[in-house]
Symmetry: C2
Subunit: 112 residues, 2 copies
């Protein structure tokens, strides 16, 4: 039941990650695209630097879904909000899941 608050933002604890919630977070093409870009990034990325064809408010919505599902971690940095993939946490809770998702369909564009 432990929950972690990082810089005022809700993040579920690793042991509280739920499979249906994570799968649902990953079942949207836009969010899948964000996760894939995040997976190849070396460092934390601000929300604005993603190739997503939706409005800013929709983008905020998708990042919140990913964060509340435990897929990404967010923290403020100046006016920006930096995003990192919670790869170790997801691997610990659901071994192999993230690798399988990232290995699949890397060619699918975010046009949809």
């Amino acid at each position: 039941m432990k929950e972690e608050i990082v810089m005022g933002l809700y993040h579920p604890a690793t042991e509280d990650l739920e499979l249906p919630t994570v799968l649902h977070a990953l079942s949207d093409p836009q969010r899948l695209h964000i996760v894939r870009e995040l997976a190849v990034a070396e460092e934390a990325q601000p929300c604005g630097r993603f190739t997503v064809n939706v409005s800013k408010s929709t983008c905020t919505h998708h990042f919140r879904v990913l964060r509340e599902a435990g897929v990404i971690q967010q923290h403020h940095l100046g006016t920006a909000k930096m995003n990192t993939l919670r790869r170790a946490d997801i691997d610990a809770r659901f071994p192999g899941l993230l690798d399988a998702v990232l290995a699949a369909a890397p060619a699918e564009p975010a046009i949809a």
Copy 2:
């Protein structure tokens, strides 16, 4: 674009399986439970033999979602409709995905 019709039921071809669709199909607790029961079954199972706490019509809906996503294959047998997991197809298209999903959260009940 090939599509396979098995006994009058639509089934997507292996190469047409889409990751978001499959993930969405697996993101429901009831359907996840069905898939898990199907994974440990030796043979094809009729729809009625699943421990699901929803009505019959809702059950029909969930099986259709799984079939149209390409997760299961269905065929009629008398009055029953038999279900099998398309494990080989999913493994071919998304290697490791099904294993990761099945390995995770095996203790989650279908009470929800």
